[in-house]
Structures are given as structure tokens and as C-alpha cells.
């Protein structure tokens, strides 16, 4: 499903070259639940960004469904993100002027799905995250946990194969965090690959497969 082969990513900071990823090779199968952990600066966010096609590796190969996606152009990469990937961010990234329903609808609108179909799919997604009664609230009228659930609904609205979550509970209280993780894990049970980046060991332990990064290298990969 996901195949990474000898991935390198370095940044130039001043005149120092920082190796964020230093030869990562990974294979992730359909339906896996993976946590990526490591201290800050270990390259876990960079890895997630590359997996999400938001960033490009300097060398190495990234194959998604047996297709080399490293060489795609901007439009094709956008299409892969749209159709196959769902993002959940630490800071939710909801658009403040749009209601919960409109935020969830956004990927469908960008994809050119017609309004009638959009509505039924948004309703379904709202139901899935148990927020049907908050459809017309704007983000500032929702609690943190509710915001993250809206973001999850937005991430799954295009029925992606992979969900990439970057510190999804980093901004939530214990109770909301559990709620959010349960939703994400239920999605994983339905066959979606769930990849969670975190520095919280307790959260990382929940995953079936745990990958540890240090200085851009995989130091352990336990199942």
C-alpha cells in the first residue's frame, strides 16, 4: 500500500545541513494502525508531511498503491491528497467563517461534487462524529473536542484510504482526546490506514505498530 524506499530529506538552516530524514524505508499495509513517535526534531512531522504529499523528499522513492507519487506534478499530487488522504491536525485548521457543515463540505466542493450529493454525505459524516446537532455552529462556538471531530469528519468526507493525524490530541483534554482517538480507531477498524504522529507515549502505545524515529532514522519498529 505505502512503500518508502531510502527516503532522504534535508534542510539548510544557515550554513548547517539538517538531515530530517536520513534513509527511511517503510512498508505499510492496508488497514494498519501505525504510530510514529520520537523526540522533537526526530523527523516525525517531516515524515508525515512527505507521506501526505505536502513536502517532497530530496531522494528516495514513495510509492502509493504501486504508483510512484514522488514525480507527480502539483495538480496530480493535489488530486492524490484529495482522493486518498485525510488530514487531522493538532490545531484543527477549521475555517473560522464557515459552519461545521461547510467546513466538512469543503473537500467535496473543491472536488466539484454537486450540492445535493454533498449534503447527504456531509450529514452522514456529521452523524459519524456525533455532531449532527452542531452542523450550523461556527468553530468558535464549538469545544476543542468538537472542533477536532469536525476536522475528522472533513478528513473522511472523501472516503480516503489513509488518515494522517499530526498530534491529533495535542490540544485536547483527556476526555476529548479519548473520544477523538476512539473515532479515529473505529475508522481504522473499517479498513482505513491510520498513521498518528505523536510524542505522547501513552497515545503511541494504542497503535498496533509503533515506529520510533531518532535523528531521521528508524530506531525501532514493533508490532
Amino acid at each position: 500500500m505505502i512503500e518508502l524506499r531510502d527516503l532522504h530529506r534535508h534542510f539548510t538552516v544557515g550554513d548547517v545541513i539538517v538531515h530530517a530524514l536520513d534513509g527511511i524505508s517503510l512498508t505499510i499495509q492496508k488497514g494498519e494502525y501505525v504510530s510514529i513517535m520520537g523526540p522533537s526534531g526526530s523527523g516525525k512531522s517531516t515524515l508525515l508531511n512527505i507521506l501526505g504529499l505536502l513536502d517532497q523528499a530530496n531522494s528516495g522513492e514513495y510509492r502509493l498503491n504501486n504508483r510512484n507519487v514522488t514525480t507527480l506534478d502539483d495538480t496530480e499530487q493535489a488530486k492524490v491528497r484529495r482522493d486518498q488522504l485525510g488530514f487531522v491536525f493538532q490545531f484543527f485548521h477549521l475555517i473560522p467563517r464557515l459552519t461545521a457543515a461547510e467546513n466538512i463540505e469543503l473537500p467535496l466542493m473543491l472536488a466539484g461534487v454537486l450540492p445535493a450529493e454533498r449534503k447527504t454525505r456531509v450529514d452522514e459524516a456529521l452523524q459519524h462524529v456525533a455532531l449532527s446537532d452542531r452542523a450550523h455552529h461556527r468553530p468558535d462556538q464549538l469545544s476543542g473536542g468538537q472542533r477536532q471531530r469536525v476536522a475528522i469528519a472533513r478528513a473522511i468526507i472523501m472516503r480516503p484510504a489513509i488518515i494522517l493525524a499530526d498530534e491529533p490530541t495535542g490540544n485536547l483534554d483527556r476526555h476529548s482526546a479519548t473520544e477523538v482517538m476512539e473515532i479515529l480507531e473505529s475508522l481504522n477498524k473499517s479498513g482505513i490506514i491510520l498513521i498518528v504522529v505523536t510524542h505522547d507515549p501513552q497515545l503511541g502505545e494504542r497503535a498496533r505498530r509503533k515506529i520510533r524515529l531518532v535523528d531521521g532514522k528508524v530506531v525501532s519498529d514493533e508490532t
Partner: protein, 404 residues
């Protein structure tokens, strides 16, 4: 599937609505630009039509014969002074009736003479002419009658006076039938001219008209100042002009020492000048549209730096750069479009108010002014929003998302 335009417009409208104050200020700037183009060109065009109407009141089939040869067709000092090698005479004027293209003629003598009634006196422009003058210049009378055909030939002592002259000399007394002193001569008032207002140079309100033969005696000269000729139709003007030249050249021993002036020539000069003026002020107003365009660019740049995280998100959920470019340009286009709609409405109201306050002044903006104002407004909006929109489209997703 591609995203339909309707969704672009809705998304942009929602964004604009969420920052209403900023949106309305930009729309206002755009609207003012559009409205000023419309109002200012309406003023210019109004001036042009005003002059046209003034000429039309002179009579459109009118030719004016001036003694002296002038190569230019406009009015210049020599036509005013009239460097005359040979005088125009009454016989010259009557000879013009031989042309089949000439409907009627009116000789004109002119002078400034004191005119008095019972101790009240004023200086007045006295015109010596014939009864035909009334039709040629479309005069109307409030009282009495115009100079009669019989009067002109025998130099009758009758006169027609303008309204202002009447008021100043007679006050509330009846003027019709009274005898006034014009120079050293006495004339009986037979008619009062209706007010026609200013009609290129001569105000009919302040005129005194007497038969041309009487004027020759009064001014002690046989020389005509002008001959007004009315052609049978507008199309026959050039032919009538040729005939006049031919007849007068023959009468002046083969020397062409007259100038025939058509209204058209003068009018077209005025039209050109005022048309250019309209363009110039319209162009100046259009500059304000460019300024509004730059304002839009500024606002879009601010919007993009404020919405960086949103742009990152749009990229993450699958919007390619092209689509982000389009989203922002549609937003700018909508701003300009609202500006145009309000601007055109303000322009229409302004010109309507102008017209109702000054009925003589037909302040209609020409069609091209509307088209141009709207095109420039929309064009600059697209042009100036392209740079910020492209900047948004090229933002690096990771950096954009890291902004909160």
C-alpha cells in the same frame, strides 16, 4: 469533475461577507471610480450636445456669407474684422436667390446705436435685415409682428425689439406702437421678440431690428455685414455653397473675395474639441479606477497573509495551485463587480440629478463611458489580483499550515 463557477462565487461571497467593513470600503473606492467616469463624461458629452443644440437653434441649413477671403473655415480675427476688398451689397444678396438650391436669404447689417424712449436711453445692437430673417433664425414674437416684406425695400420706420430692451425702455408701459429714437431716427415698435436666450454670440433679448434699407440710411453705408442663406435642404448645402461662390464671384469681376461658412464646419470643430475634452476628463477619472485596482491588490495581499493557514489547509484537502489562484481572483473580481454595479447606479443617479437641475444641459454619459468604466474596473481587478493570487497559489503547504 471540476468545481463549478457557482461554488467559486459562493465561496468568495462568503469570504467577502465575513469581512464586511473591508469589503464595503473597497467596493466604495471602485464605485466612486466608475461613477466619476460616468458623471464626468456625461458633463463633457452634455457640453457637446449643448453646443450642438445651440447651433441647431440657428438653423441647420444655414450658410453665412462673409466678405473677404479666408482659407480657414473656423472663426478667426479676419472674419471678425472682415478685410474687405469688395463690399457685399444688397444687390449681391438678392442675386443669390437665382440659385435653385437657395430657399431664402437675409442680409444683415449690424451696428451699435443708442436707443431712447422718453429720456431713457441705452446702447443697443441694431440689426438691419429683412422679413426673411424671422424664418431663417426661427425667431418667435411675444407681441405684434416681425418686419414686413414691404418694409425692407422702402426703408420703413418700424422696428422689432428684444424683451430686455423693452423692459428697460418702457418698464410697465405698453411698447407696441410707441415711437423710439434709434440714433437720430425715429422708429415705431411693431413687435417684441420672444426670449430665445444666448444663441452663439448674439442675445436676441437685447436686439433691435430694423429694415435693412433703414439701416443703410442709419449707418450711412451700403455695406452688408453678413448674408444669411438658407439652403432648401441639408443635403443641398454643398451645392448651394458652390452656387453662392459662383454667383458672387461673377458679380465681383471674377474675384472670389467672399467666404461661405457652413454651420457644419464650425459645429464639427466644436464637436472635435468637446469630444477630446470628454475623452480627457474620462481618462483622468479612469485613473481613479487604476487606483482602486491597486487597492484591491493591497487588500488581497493582506488577506493572503491573514489566511495563510487556510491556504495551507486548502492545499492539504486537495486544492491544486490553479484552484487557489482562481478562488482568490474570483474574490477580487466580485469586489470589482459590486463596485461596478453600485458605481453605474450612482453614475445614473448623478447624471439624472444633473439633468433635472439643468434642463438645458443634456448630461448623458455616452455608452462607451459605461462600457469602458466597467471594463477597466474589472480588468484592473483581475490584473492586480493576479500577483497576490499567484503568491497564494505558490505558498508552500507545510509552511502555510504551520502558521496559525
Amino acid at each position: 469533475m471540476t468545481m463549478p463557477w457557482r461554488d467559486y462565487v459562493l465561496f468568495a461571497a462568503q469570504t467577502l461577507w465575513s469581512s464586511r467593513t473591508r469589503t464595503s470600503l473597497i467596493v466604495l473606492a471602485m464605485a466612486l471610480g466608475v461613477a466619476s467616469v460616468i458623471a464626468l463624461t456625461a458633463l463633457g458629452e452634455g457640453a457637446r450636445l449643448y453646443v450642438n443644440n445651440q447651433f441647431a437653434s440657428l438653423g441647420t441649413n444655414l450658410l453665412i456669407v462673409i466678405p473677404g477671403r479666408s482659407e480657414t473655415t473656423g472663426i478667426n480675427p479676419s472674419t471678425m474684422i472682415g478685410s474687405t476688398p469688395r463690399d457685399l451689397t444688397l444687390a449681391d444678396a438678392e442675386a443669390l436667390l437665382r440659385s435653385t438650391y437657395v430657399q431664402r436669404i437675409a442680409p444683415v447689417m449690424i451696428g451699435s446705436v443708442p436707443i431712447a424712449y422718453q429720456g431713457r436711453e441705452r446702447e443697443s445692437v441694431v440689426i438691419g435685415t429683412t422679413s426673411e430673417m424671422m424664418q431663417i433664425r426661427h425667431y418667435t414674437l411675444t407681441q405684434g409682428q416681425f418686419l414686413q416684406e414691404s418694409d425692407s425695400s422702402r426703408g420703413a420706420a418700424s422696428c422689432v425689439i428684444g424683451g430686455k430692451v423693452r423692459d428697460e425702455l418702457f418698464g410697465a408701459e405698453p411698447a407696441l406702437g410707441a415711437w423710439v429714437k434709434v440714433g437720430d431716427w425715429r422708429f415705431r415698435v411693431i413687435g417684441i421678440l420672444a426670449k430665445q436666450g444666448q444663441s452663439i454670440g448674439i442675445n436676441t433679448d437685447e436686439l433691435v431690428m430694423i429694415p435693412v434699407a433703414s439701416a443703410q440710411a442709419l449707418f450711412n453705408s451700403p455695406t452688408l455685414f453678413r448674408i444669411f442663406v438658407e439652403a432648401k435642404s441639408h443635403e443641398l448645402l454643398p451645392k448651394a455653397k458652390d452656387d453662392i461662390r459662383e454667383i458672387l464671384t461673377a458679380r465681383h469681376q471674377g474675384e472670389e473675395d467672399i467666404t461661405v461658412l457652413a454651420q457644419d464646419a464650425v459645429l464639427s470643430t466644436f464637436n472635435k474639441i468637446l469630444g477630446a475634452l470628454t475623452l480627457a476628463i474620462g481618462g483622468i477619472a479612469a485613473v481613479s479606477l487604476f487606483v482602486a485596482g491597486i487597492l484591491i491588490m493591497n487588500v488581497m495581499l493582506v488577506a493572503i497573509s491573514q489566511r495563510t493557514a487556510e491556504i495551507g489547509l486548502l492545499k492539504a484537502i486537495g486544492a491544486p495551485g490553479r484552484q487557489i489562484l482562481k478562488l482568490f481572483m474570483v474574490e477580487a473580481f466580485l469586489l470589482a463587480l459590486f463596485g461596478c454595479i453600485i458605481g453605474v447606479m450612482v453614475g445614473l443617479i448623478t447624471t439624472a440629478v444633473l439633468r433635472s437641475s439643468f434642463p438645458d444641459f443634456p448630461a448623458h454619459a455616452p455608452g462607451w463611458a459605461y462600457v469602458l468604466a466597467v471594463l477597466i474596473a474589472l480588468g484592473t481587478a483581475l490584473l492586480f489580483s493576479y500577483i497576490p493570487a499567484r503568491r497564494a497559489a505558490r505558498l508552500d503547504a507545510v509552511t502555510a499550515l504551520s502558521k496559525r
